[in-house]
């Protein structure tokens, strides 16, 4: 069984540019979560999809971040325009049901210059 796949693994862009991160969850997992870890701090929740619907987006920092999950399969997280404080590692996780163990991808390391 393939795990959670994220790409790109690394992205370096300049402030003001746009970046799109992609997450492919484990097949059959309806629940998809995005998290972010800023250097040296805790991993923080961003949002939660159940199939194609946003269940909880309370962790999204601001309206420069847009997450989508069209068709309830893969998800994208777009940052537009990127700011310096957006640098960090963005993780995606999926689970079969809410409350069951979440499986994480290897993350996308985003650097804003």
């Amino acid at each position: 069984e393939a795990g959670v796949t994220q790409f790109p693994s690394h992205s370096v862009i300049e402030k003001g540019q746009t970046v799109t991160l992609r997450c492919d969850p484990i097949s059959g997992h309806d629940n998809l979560y995005w998290y972010r870890r800023v250097m040296g701090k805790e991993i923080k929740f961003l949002l939660h999809f159940v199939k194609e619907s946003k269940q909880d987006e309370s962790g999204m920092p601001n309206n420069r971040f847009l997450a989508e999950r069209t068709g309830g399969t893969y998800s994208t997280l777009k940052v537009q325009p990127a700011e310096l404080e957006d640098s960090g590692v963005y993780f995606c996780a999926s689970s079969q049901e809410q409350g069951l163990p979440q499986h994480f991808g290897d993350g996308t390391r985003l650097s804003i210059l």
Partner: protein, 114 residues
């Protein structure tokens, strides 16, 4: 406001020793407490988890101790090995009713010296 506090930030242990990482939480609605292990360049991987109806759970060399009244839980790694060197995160969740989102501690970098 950090809902899950983890300590220490870093830990050095000799091979064969016991590694102990502690976490404290505030929200009494939390009902699921997992520990994740992360190696450099990889994502967090679930190591072991506990629910508040038990005080201890053991899987191999890894044990979670849970103190509901003190709102604390800890990870013990017995007979620590160099291969255990990684970053460890505790987390808490309100489970199904809150969508299962995880609230993480700040992480502990464990180094096991040979």
């Amino acid at each position: 406001q950090q809902q899950v506090k983890q300590s220490p930030q870093s830990l050095i242990v000799q091979k064969g020793g016991i590694s102990i990482i502690n976490c404290a939480y505030e929200n009494t609605a939390f009902d699921y407490f997992p520990w994740y292990q992360q190696f450099p360049g990889k994502g967090p991987a679930l190591l072991i988890a506990i629910r508040p109806d038990v005080s201890e759970k053991k899987e191999g060399r890894f044990t979670i101790s849970f103190n509901k009244s003190a709102k604390q839980f800890s990870l013990h790694i017995m007979d620590s090995q160099p291969g255990d060197s990684a970053t460890y995160f505790c987390a808490a969740s309100s489970g199904y009713n809150q969508g299962g989102k995880l609230i993480f501690g700040q992480g502990t970098e464990l180094s096991v010296k040979p």
